[in-house]
């Protein structure tokens, strides 16, 4: 190709990508970097009124966070969500994917769409619905449990039940998404392999453990990381269902950040929380990359 042609191609390349790049730098990269700088200042409601009140405070925001019991509560809650929610959601999605992938299943697309539907619903709307499903006296969940002799559970009012209650909702809302990813992976596992194991007399669980799981190991890892990242970003769920309560048992990192920043207008301290959240997600991603490299997935 001619030099002029190359130059015009390069010009077009820049012209077509620069609007998007400008938007990304202006509304994504700059704010993310600014978050770090903001976290070293005492930006609050006074600085919001007059920027002259802004002072550089070094690591004071971080020091204060470390001494704040609510911050640790939010950290612990989020880690509990990760530790309990990730295995639950991975197992639920894998189970759903294996069911939909079953060779004996009729009308597969119908069930696939039905199981995926909760994922596309509006989070706030279904959180409102689930708040009523989990109602102590009039909720359907407790009504169904009563048939098994379970006494009414105060799902959203008992500090021990509130976190599991939100997890049930989050599991219902998100398993369809992971199911689709698992389904794509399962379709690459040769049927013959599973068939051969069956002829050899391997039971359902043995085949799952020794045939299916090894074949889709990288996908299990991918889904786990996506789920963990999602668990770090819980916000609307506690906002709508429990307002962080009871006894702050469902305050998540993001909920804490929101209240610091936009309820109390401690934007400096809120930015410090945001930066710590970023470090957590970065750590998870790095661990995932390392695991993937070791297992030879990449």
């Amino acid at each position: 190709m001619s030099a002029a042609g190359r130059a015009s191609e390069a010009r077009a390349g820049w012209a077509m990508s620069s609007p998007a790049l400008a938007a990304i730098i202006l509304f994504f990269v700059l704010p993310a970097i600014a978050s770090l700088f903001l976290s070293f200042t005492d930006f609050d409601i006074y600085a919001l009124a007059d920027i002259g009140n802004l002072r550089f405070v070094g690591l004071a925001n971080y020091a204060r966070l470390i001494e704040n019991p609510l911050f640790w509560k939010a950290m612990t809650n989020t880690l509990l969500f990760v530790a309990a929610g990730t295995p639950l959601i991975v197992a639920l999605s894998l189970f759903a994917a294996m069911l939909v992938n079953s060779r004996w299943l009729k009308w597969r697309p119908v069930w696939r769409v039905a199981l995926f539907a909760p994922y596309v619903t509006t989070l706030v709307a279904t959180a409102v619905v689930w708040r009523y499903l989990l109602h102590t006296r009039y909720g359907l969940i407790n009504y169904l449990l009563s048939f098994f002799g379970v006494p009414p559970i105060d799902w959203l009012g008992d500090p021990h039940a509130s976190l599991p209650a939100i997890l049930i909702f989050v599991g219902w809302k998100t398993f369809g998404y992971n199911m689709i990813i698992f389904l794509a992976a399962l379709q690459t596992v040769p049927r013959e392999l599973d068939e051969a194991a069956r002829i050899d007399g391997a039971g359902w669980f043995t085949r799952l453990r020794h045939v299916t799981l090894p074949a889709i190991a990288p996908t299990v890892l991918l889904v786990s990381v996506l789920t963990i990242a999602g668990m770090f970003q819980l916000f609307a769920e506690p906002y709508v269902m429990t307002q962080g309560g009871p006894a702050q048992s469902t305050v998540t990192i993001l909920y804490f950040m929101y209240e610091e920043g936009f309820k109390w207008w401690n934007l400096g301290s809120g930015a410090a929380v945001a930066f710590l959240l970023f470090l957590c997600i970065l750590a998870v991603t790095l661990v995932q990359l390392r695991l993937a490299k070791r297992s030879g997935a990449i």
């Binding site: 010009r11 077009a12 990508s17 202006l26 994504f28 619905v129 970003q233």
Partner: protein, 271 residues
């Protein structure tokens, strides 16, 4: 074998029913008279179906305004996202320019950073620009959609270079090539991206909650969340509100699910 076929299918139907039961129940309660759902045992169907809750919602509560806000913001977000990401995705796949691959690698790395990390500074930035409490402020994050660029680029990689070269030799400008040759090929992925952005912006909650304060500007999820924290007792009204909020996207998804699901796989498995 046939018995096995039916038992697996029946089991799947049962699981599917349990999964969508909360949505069916939401619709059912929204047609109940006030106070009907607050009984034990909880009724499954309305004894005397009524549209009263919807009438109240659109009359007294002025939900029509929030619906309009949601429709406007999601439509504009979708249009703007397509306008920004399609040319960029194509350029990153097919046009050779200096620094292209390095920039793209940085974009992929940036996918790890959740948008919430920069939310507080973004709020201050938009405040300085005078965009807090405006549609424009709510739209801004959708301009910076790295995922969309990634999706379009993946799809563009399959376009043969010879096709573009032939058009260049025929004297077509780069802009004409994008419009007349590339866009028609991209139609499926454009639909996928449009559905994805529309659903995501419709369902988005945290950013609109932060940036929109005016009652005349808030979207349906924000209005519903704020009201749900106050009217805890009114089951039937809240369910009608949930129906109005989530039914439009549910229908849109059912109509275009083929596009949505295929895009989801391109985005996650290759990412």
């Amino acid at each position: 074998m046939s018995l096995r076929r039916w038992s697996v299918t029946l089991f799947a139907a049962l699981v599917a029913l349990v999964t969508i039961a909360p949505l069916l129940w939401m619709v059912s309660v929204s047609f109940m008279v006030r106070g009907e759902a607050a009984q034990f045992p909880p009724p499954l169907w309305p004894a005397n179906p009524t549209l009263e809750n919807y009438r109240l919602l659109f009359g007294t509560f002025g939900v029509g305004r929030f619906l309009l806000n949601s429709v406007l913001i999601s439509t504009l977000a979708t249009g703007l996202a397509l306008l920004f990401t399609i040319p960029a995705g194509y350029a990153f796949a097919k046009l050779r320019f200096k620094g292209r691959d390095a920039i793209f690698r940085m974009l992929v790395a940036a996918l790890v950073v959740p948008g919430q990390v920069g939310m507080l500074p973004l709020f201050l930035e938009l405040k300085a620009m005078g965009l807090v409490n405006s549609y424009a402020g709510a739209l801004v994050p959708w301009l910076a959609g790295i995922f969309g660029i990634f999706l379009v680029r993946q799809y563009c990689l399959s376009i043969p270079d010879e096709m573009l070269e032939a058009a260049r030799i025929d004297g077509a400008s780069e802009g004409q090539i994008l419009r007349r040759i590339v866009l028609p090929i991209l139609t499926p992925i454009i639909v996928t991206l449009a559905v994805y952005v529309f659903l995501s912006s419709w369902n988005d909650f945290m950013w609109p909650l932060i940036i929109l304060a005016d009652q005349d500007l808030v979207t349906l999820p924000v209005a519903l969340a704020v009201n749900s924290r106050q009217n805890v007792q009114d089951y039937e009204i809240m369910m009608a509100g949930a129906v109005v909020t989530t039914l439009p996207v549910l229908i849109l998804f059912l109509a275009l699910q083929r596009y949505y699901l295929s895009g989801l796989l391109t985005g996650s498995v290759k990412g």
